[in-house]
C-alpha cells in the first residue's frame, strides 16, 4: 500500500513514496542514495546506522519509515560543508579514531546529537553514548580521545 511521506533531510524537503515496510535506513540508502549511513547489523546492535531525527540520535535500521512524516533528519552527508569538515569529524581524524571508517558515520552523528543538545556533556554521558557503537579496528581508545577533543574544540 504505497504512501507518500514528506520530511526534511539535511535541510532539504523531500517527498518519498514508500510501500510501508521500509525502515529509515532503506529510504536513505536506496531511495535517496545517501549511502554514507552504514548497515552493520540490521538488528540495532552496532550503531553504524545512527542518524539524527528531530535532534535525537536514532538507529535508522529499526526506525520505521512510516513515522518519518514531518520529521527533520540529519545524516553524515549533512554535517560537513563541502570539503570543510565539521569539528567533530576533524577531531576524530586528528585523534587517530578513523581506521577503516565503517563505524564513523554513526559515531559522528551520535556525537553531533549529543553536543548539539549539551556541549558540556560529562565524560560519563559521552561514554554512555559511544558505548552503543561497535568498532573492530580501534579498540575505542582513540574514539573516546577524539570525542573529548571534539568537545574541547566545540566549546571554544
Amino acid at each position: 500500500m504505497a504512501e507518500k511521506i514528506n520530511f526534511t533531510v539535511n535541510g532539504k524537503k523531500r517527498t518519498v513514496e514508500i510501500e510501508g515496510w521500509e525502515k529509515l535506513i532503506y529510504v536513505l540508502r536506496e531511495y535517496l542514495n545517501l549511502t554514507g549511513t552504514k548497515r552493520g547489523c540490521d538488528d540495532a546492535s552496532c550503531g553504524a546506522c545512527v542518524v539524527v531525527v528531530d535532534g535525537k540520535a536514532t538507529k535508522s535500521c529499526v526506525y520505521p519509515a512510516k513515522k518519518l512524516d514531518g520529521k527533520e533528519v540529519v545524516t553524515i552527508e549533512g554535517v560537513s560543508e563541502g570539503t570543510n569538515l565539521h569539528p567533530i569529524q576533524r577531531a576524530l581524524i586528528d585523534a587517530g579514531a578513523v581506521q577503516c571508517g565503517f563505524c564513523m558515520p554513526g559515531i559522528v552523528m551520535e556525537l553531533y546529537a549529543l553536543f548539539n543538545k549539551n556541549v558540556a556533556a560529562s565524560r560519563e554521558e559521552i561514554m554512555d553514548a559511544l558505548d552503543k557503537h561497535l568498532c573492530r579496528c580501534t579498540g575505542y581508545e582513540a574514539i573516546l580521545d577524539g570525542a573529548l577533543l571534539a568537545q574541547k574544540n566545540l566549546k571554544k
Binding site: 552493520g40 547489523c41 538488528d43 546492535s45 552496532c46 585523534a95 587517530g96 581506521q99 561514554m127 559511544l130 558505548d131 552503543k132 557503537h133 561497535l134 573492530r136 579496528c137 580501534t138 579498540g139 575505542y140 581508545e141 582513540a142 574514539i143 573516546l144
Partner: protein, 227 residues
C-alpha cells in the same frame, strides 16, 4: 597473439613485431592491432571470433625465502616482528566479572612510520584479543544452527569493555626488506592477549583455564570448585 594478428592483418607471422601495446607489421607500422583486441582472440564486426585466448603466468620470490630443508627448517616468513604483552586485571569474586586495569604491549616494529596509526593497530588488536578471551562465542545447536548470531548476544566487546589503560611501546631494530626497515604489525597485537589474560587470571585466583572465552559464569564456577 601474433598468430591471431597475422590472420587479421593478412600477413605472415614472421613479419610481425610486438611493442608491448600492439602487434604490428614490421615494414608498415601503421598496420597494427592492439592487445585488448587480441587477448581473447579477435572478434570481427559480424561477431565471428578467431584465434586462441592468451595464457600468461607470473611468479615472484621474496629475497632470502627458502623451502624447508630435511629438518623442516628454512626462512618461510621474510621478516619477523617480536613482542611481549602483559595484563593487569581484577576479578569481582561475587559476580566473576573480569576488569582489565592495564594492558601493556611492546613490539619491535623495525621503524615506526605513523605513530598514531601504529598505536591504533596495537590497541585495536588487543581489543580483538580481549573480545575473544572474555566475551565472544558463537553457539550452535546439535543441527549446526547458530543460536546467537547477533552482535549484542555473541557478544562483541564495547567501549566500556576496553582496558582502563593501554601502554604501547616500540623497539626499532630495522628489518631487512620493509620500507625504512619497517616490520609488520597488523596481526601481532592479537597473538599474546589471551595467554596474558589467562595467566593473569591464574595469578589472581589460582585457576588455569585452557579454553576461551572465560566468562563470569566460568570464573564463578571455578571459584566455587576451589572452595
Amino acid at each position: 597473439m601474433k598468430e591471431t594478428a597475422s590472420q587479421v592483418l593478412r600477413v605472415q607471422v614472421d613479419r610481425l613485431d610486438y611493442d608491448g601495446d600492439d602487434v604490428f607489421v614490421r615494414s608498415d607500422p601503421t598496420a597494427r592491432v592492439p592487445v585488448p583486441e587480441l587477448g581473447r582472440g579477435y572478434t570481427y564486426d559480424d561477431g565471428q571470433t578467431i584465434g586462441e585466448v592468451v595464457h600468461t603466468t607470473a611468479d615472484a620470490r621474496l629475497p632470502r625465502q627458502s623451502n624447508p630443508d630435511e629438518n623442516g627448517q628454512g626462512i618461510m616468513g621474510i621478516t619477523y616482528t617480536f613482542g611481549a604483552q602483559a595484563c593487569e586485571l581484577k576479578i569481582d569474586k561475587e559476580t566473576g566479572e573480569i576488569i582489565i586495569d592495564h594492558f601493556a604491549s611492546c613490539f619491535d616494529v623495525g621503524q615506526v612510520i605513523n605513530p598514531i596509526q601504529i598505536r591504533g593497530q596495537v590497541v585495536g588488536g588487543v581489543m580483538m584479543g580481549i573480545g575473544a578471551s572474555l566475551y565472544e562465542e558463537l553457539k550452535f545447536d546439535e543441527d549446526g544452527k547458530a543460536l546467537n548470531p547477533m552482535f549484542r548476544k555473541y557478544r562483541f566487546p564495547t567501549l566500556k569493555n576496553a582496558p582502563e589503560k593501554h601502554t604501547v611501546e616500540f623497539v626499532e631494530t630495522p628489518g631487512e626488506i620493509g620500507p625504512f626497515g619497517a616490520r609488520g604489525i597488523g596481526e601481532h597485537p592479537l597473538v599474546a592477549v589471551a595467554p596474558a589474560i589467562l595467566n593473569a587470571i591464574y595469578d589472581a585466583i589460582g585457576v588455569e583455564f585452557y579454553e576461551i572465552p572465560v566468562t563470569p559464569e566460568k570464573i564463578q564456577e571455578a571459584i566455587e570448585n576451589k572452595k
